[in-house]
């Protein structure tokens, strides 16, 4: 069995053993990550490498810098101010080389906020205070906080510490996970959550390895445990044309859910979109799915019908091309 964080390309955040987390975004008024109005905390680092990853800045566990050429006004404050000479002008944006010690001086001094620090370190109390801010909105809407990522469970010790604090303050807590996690760790965290948002992508293990970089064995094992333990759960299936959208795959997922998660509350079919293409460009990465079309409404409706056979309480579809 793989250990947590051993997926290819993944490495644990350096602060794993202390009670801080590395996060790359806090999104208030989130309406897409669980019930009600929520604040979603995106935690950095992922042990999978799905080709369609929507949050590529969450992949690497470490903090890194990117240069936003659209915001940059070319004042060269960063280039001139770096004591280590670690920034160079590539002609198509600035590059940060190995000499960079992550002192973040350049980012702090950039007048245009054109140097973005991807990843910030945050302590439990500090984050709790930030998340409490929107409590009136959570309370009125039945919302709360969702930990997402990356893979939030890679920073499980932080979650272990912060979840009781939030729940103690009367806040509903969701975790949004891909489930490729050591089962004891998974069970410890999922058992504390008010709701688990769990991704299922591909049933055939060969294809799962090919498109996500890891086997689905752990994922299915954890999903089955959720079913047995009766943890409130929403399954999320990304519908990616050419990768996850075969009838066989979707029927396979529906069958798995029917057998293993008989009291499942809900399945969300999330259509593919390319809103993340810019993020790839900024990270200077190739976007593997460039040019992939959005999913048509009729196809989504068909998939919804298939998924309804899983017996889930509700099957929702979102993010598709309206009309034909």
């Amino acid at each position: 069995m793989r250990k947590v964080g051993e997926g290819w390309g993944g490495s644990l955040p350096s602060n794993m053993d202390t009670l801080t987390a590395t996060i790359f975004n806090i999104q208030p008024m989130s309406t897409e990550d669980g019930p009600g109005i929520r604040t979603t905390v995106f935690m950095k680092g992922c042990n999978m490498r799905c080709l369609w990853c929507q949050n590529p800045e969450g992949l690497a566990a470490r903090v890194h810098l990117v240069h936003d050429t659209l915001r940059c006004i070319g004042c060269r404050t960063c280039l001139n101010g770096c004591e280590r000479g670690a920034i160079s002008d590539s002609g198509s944006g600035y590059k940060f080389n190995r000499g960079c010690a992550l002192c973040l001086t350049c980012a702090a001094n950039c007048p245009a906020r054109a140097i973005r620090v991807i990843g910030q370190t945050v302590g439990v109390e500090e984050l709790v205070q930030k998340l409490l801010r929107d409590k009136p909105f959570y309370d009125q809407s039945g919302g709360g906080v969702t930990f997402s990522g990356g893979e939030c469970l890679l920073q499980h010790r932080f979650l272990t510490a912060i979840m009781p604090r939030l729940k103690g303050a009367g806040i509903h807590v969701c975790i949004d996970t891909a489930g490729h996690i050591d089962p004891p760790v998974f069970q410890a965290i999922a058992g504390q959550a008010d709701l688990v948002l769990f991704d299922l992508k591909i049933m055939e293990d060969r294809l799962h390895r090919q498109y996500t970089g890891v086997s689905n064995a752990l994922i299915l094992q954890n999903a089955a445990w959720l079913g047995r333990a009766g943890i409130p759960c929403w399954i999320r299936v990304p519908v990616i044309p050419g990768y996850t959208d075969s009838e066989k795959n979707l029927r396979g997922i529906a069958l798995f859910l029917k057998e293993n998660m008989p009291s499942l509350a809900r399945v969300d079919l999330l259509g593919y979109n390319d809103l993340c293409a810019n993020d790839y460009a900024m990270l200077d990465r190739d976007y593997p799915l460039a040019g992939t079309p959005r999913v048509a409404e009729s196809a989504m409706l068909h998939f919804q019908e298939i998924m309804a056979q899983s017996g889930a309480g509700m099957v929702s579809i979102s993010n598709y091309q309206k009309g034909e």
Binding site: P28, M29, I37, C75, C110, P111, P136, G143
Partner: protein, 791 residues
């Protein structure tokens, strides 16, 4: 087309025709409700009062033209002998009655169920020769002061008609007949000659509704003589009955009540020579409900016929726009008059007062897709789920534009702050857009004064001088380079704030004085509680509650500027005052780096940032708590604060120097209590919380807050519920009033390019709705920027 635009639907053929007739301004040669001028015939006659329009900078260059045109156009009205021996108020009453009796046309349109066609007037001031000379001298001296204050970018002021909720409830209940009894009883207790003359003017004014009834009985008779259809003849006979009774008699049925309301309302517009801005109905779903319910119960009315009556009633209000029909396609910001109706809201014990008429009126709003009457829906912590659901659905289906939302708990706190007894505050209602007042007894002069708060920043950073002209405006508060520290800067800022406040209040007080001396409106005064009692015209402070409202413009621009100086110049010392001043004087031409620093590195109001929010709160509390202590000497009306900001965030943009928040001269100021466009990086919930932190109860008028959402936010049932929860949370944590734009930027960009395809597209600007394609290009761009920044 990216979204399905809101359009009219579910209209009967009759209503469909009436609606199209309204829209065919150039085709309907038989009827246009354009301004008709009526003069005294005296060579010294005056009809146009600049102070009535002192808050509309767009018309300043044309005022002399309007004055001369009105005089030249004026149809002379034959006056009784010894006319000028009467008191001014009596002259006004007699003159108005003459106009109604002999001059103002009365017309019944094909198929309509509510009648009353012509009400846009320019009436003689009925001054005698001496009064006229004095009035001209003083009024035009005041106009010079107004122009100077406006051109210096400080703001504007006037004595604006409308903006009041007359006691329509009383008209329905006792009719003008009952009001006449009240006047007569008051006369019997009076001995003072001057007061008796005024009371006589009130008594004469009760004739106005009887004259209008007489005129419309004739008009209905004329229509009957021509009419062949038996069905329509039946309606006309009923109508004849109704118009012969109301509004002089008390109303007995829903139909009578609607007709009584329209006559009473349209006569106010005619009497004030003002096409309706802010002349508001108050809680119409409450006071009409007993008529509606009784008629339904007793079988006189069906819900569908009530709907059709309301459709007809709705259309009438839009004819106010014939006032500017000839410049229709270029109405700029003026495309909204704001005859406001209030729906729902709480009762004396916090209970929800939504009823079936509330819901029917919401349906009518949705079906008509017209600008007037403008609705404001009152929400509170016990608002019914059915109401909230309807509100959310309408926002979804109508690009967010059909109404404004007012939040009761905070609004009521504001009214208590200004002195309304806590046990009365629940029955408040907004006028115009969102300006909170009491009903039937309150002239709060909302929008009479507009103050550019950001100008105080400019003056503080330039020793009291205008940065462009170098002319001294405010007190010399010192060369900023010599400020010893943060507190010197703050002192300078608040002294300049005192100065602009006093300057604008003086200007408004003089307008108020002129109007109080020369512009009695006895007909309106009959409908405002307090005036009969005190034998004092509404324009002299006769109402029970008398205020003049100063609307602050550019709050966030001013607050962010102050916060930037305090933080970056004095606390972090990352920029020097010298560098800042150089950049401001040259509009950042040679220091873009500094501008970026100010935009990106300074704390910004609207992000739940404790420092920036505290700066904004302090600023807001400072001027609103000061202004409430000021009075207009002539009438004793008190000043009070608010944040409507109407279109002035664009108008004063070029007249305000570049500001330390990184804004370049000419870029829009912030509007209402919104944050500066684009600086809200922490999302909509933070923006709401920042507004809530302002402590808006010290701004009793209320505050305009606009939020833009992408239509996908309301895409399904689940998200509709989330939006309703958002509104509930807003009520708990936010401001007094919210308007929502639910539109994607692509649609707006397309509409700007291709206006013909988007004539129906309504958007919310700052407290009011407007047809997007009729707005000026700067405002269109601003709305596109807002939408682009939406969640």
């Amino acid at each position: 087309m990216t979204v399905k635009l809101w359009e009219a639907h579910n209209l009967s053929p009759r209503v469909q025709r009436l609606r199209e007739e309204y829209w065919s301004f150039y085709e309907r040669d038989y009827y246009r409700n354009e301004v008709m001028a009526f003069g005294s015939g005296a060579p010294w006659d005056e009809l146009y009062a600049p102070y009535n329009w002192g808050v509309v900078p767009e018309v300043f260059p044309f005022m002399q033209g309007f004055r001369e045109t009105a005089k030249a156009m004026a149809e002379p009205v034959e006056l009784p002998p010894h006319f000028y021996r009467l008191s001014l108020a009596e002259r006004r009453a007699v003159f108005f009655n003459r106009v109604l009796e002999k001059h103002l046309p009365a017309m019944v349109l094909e198929g309509e169920l509510i009648v009353g066609s012509h009400f846009n007037t320019a009436l003689s001031k009925t001054l005698d020769q001496k009064e006229s000379a004095r009035w001209v001298k003083q009024t035009y001296a005041w106009l010079d002061r107004l122009l100077e204050t406006h051109n210096s970018g400080i703001g504007n002021a006037g004595a604006v008609p409308g903006h009041i909720i007359p006691n329509y409830r009383k008209v329905l209940k006792v009719g003008f007949k009952g009001i006449l009894e009240e006047v007569e009883a008051r006369i019997s207790r009076e001995t003072d000659r001057e007061k008796l003359a005024y009371l006589n003017a009130l008594k004469l004014s009760v004739e106005a509704p009887r004259l209008i009834s007489r005129r419309y009985v004739e008009a209905v008779d004329a229509a009957l003589a021509e009419e062949k259809s038996e069905e329509r003849r039946g309606e006309l006979k009923q109508l004849r009955n109704i118009v012969s009774r109301v509004p002089y008699e008390a109303s007995r049925t829903f139909w009578e009540a609607l007709q009584a309301l329209w006559f009473t309302h349209m006569l106010i517009m005619a009497a004030e020579s003002y096409p309706g801005p802010g002349l508001s109905y108050g809680r119409i779903d409450q006071y009409l409900y007993p008529f509606y319910r009784r008629d339904l119960e007793e079988g006189r009315l069906t819900r569908d016929f009530a709907r059709e009556l309301l459709h007809c009633f709705w259309i009438k209000h839009n004819y106010a726009y014939d006032y500017q029909g000839r410049c229709a396609r270029n109405q700029g910001i003026n495309s909204s008059f704001g005859q406001l109706i209030t729906l729902s809201g709480c009762g004396p014990n916090g209970e929800d007062l939504t009823n079936d008429l509330t819901m029917l009126m919401l349906e009518v709003i949705e079906e008509m897709n017209l600008l007037e009457p403008k609705p404001n829906v009152r929400l509170h912590k016990n608002s019914s789920p059915a109401l909230l659901r309807k509100v959310a659905e309408m926002i979804k289906n109508a690009q967010g534009a059909p109404f404004l939302l007012n939040f009761d708990e905070l609004s009521m706190k504001g009214l208590v702050f200004e002195g309304v007894p806590p046990e009365e505050a629940w029955d408040y209602a907004p006028v115009g857009c969102l300006e909170n007042t009491m009903q039937g007894n309150d002239r709060s002069g909302t929008v009479d004064v507009n103050l550019n708060l950001a100008k105080a920043v400019e003056l503080a950073l330039n020793d009291g001088r205008d940065m462009k002209s170098g002319r001294r405006l405010g007190p010399a508060t010192g060369d900023p380079l010599k400020f010893a520290g943060e507190s010197d800067f703050l002192n300078a800022f608040y002294r300049q704030m005192d100065f602009i406040l006093e300057r604008i209040v003086d200007l408004a007080s003089e307008a108020d004085r002129l109007r109080s001396l020369y512009d009695p409106v006895p007909y309106l005064s009959l409908l405002v509680d307090g005036c009969i009692d005190k034998a004092l015209d509404v324009n002299r402070g006769g109402a029970v509650y008398n205020f003049i409202t100063v609307e602050g413009v550019g709050l966030a621009t001013a607050a962010d500027s102050v916060a930037a100086v305090r933080q970056l110049v004095y606390r972090d010392r990352t920029i020097s005052m010298e560098r800042l001043l150089n950049a401001l004087r040259t509009d950042f031409n040679t220091d873009e780096t500094l501008r970026q620093l100010l935009i990106n590195r300074a704390p910004k109001y609207g992000n739940n940032d404790p420092f920036a929010d505290e700066v904004a709160r302090e600023l807001s509390r400072y001027w609103t708590e000061k202004v409430i202590t000021m009075r207009s000497p002539a009438t004793g009306r008190r000043f009070r604060g608010g944040y409507l900001s109407w279109n002035y965030w664009i108008a004063y943009a070029p007249l305000t120097a570049s500001t330390p928040d990184g804004r370049v001269r000419g870029q829009a100021l912030s509007n209402g209590v919104c944050c500066v466009n684009g600086v809200d990086r922490e999302g909509p919930t933070a923006a709401v919380l920042s507004v809530g932190r302002l402590g808006l109860e010290s701004a009793p008028n209320g505050a305009s807050h606009t939020m833009s959402f992408n239509p996908s936010f309301l895409r399904d049932e689940e998200h509709l519920e989330k939006f309703i929860a958002f509104l509930r949370a807003y009520n708990e944590t936010g401001g007094t009033a919210l308007q929502i734009n639910m539109i994607d930027p692509q649609t707006l960009i397309e509409a700007k390019k291709n206006p013909g395809a988007y004539l129906n597209l309504l958007v919310r600007v700052t407290g009011y709705n407007a047809y997007f394609v009729h707005l000026g290009p700067e405002i269109q761009e601003e709305i596109i920027r807002r939408a682009a920044h939406a969640i």
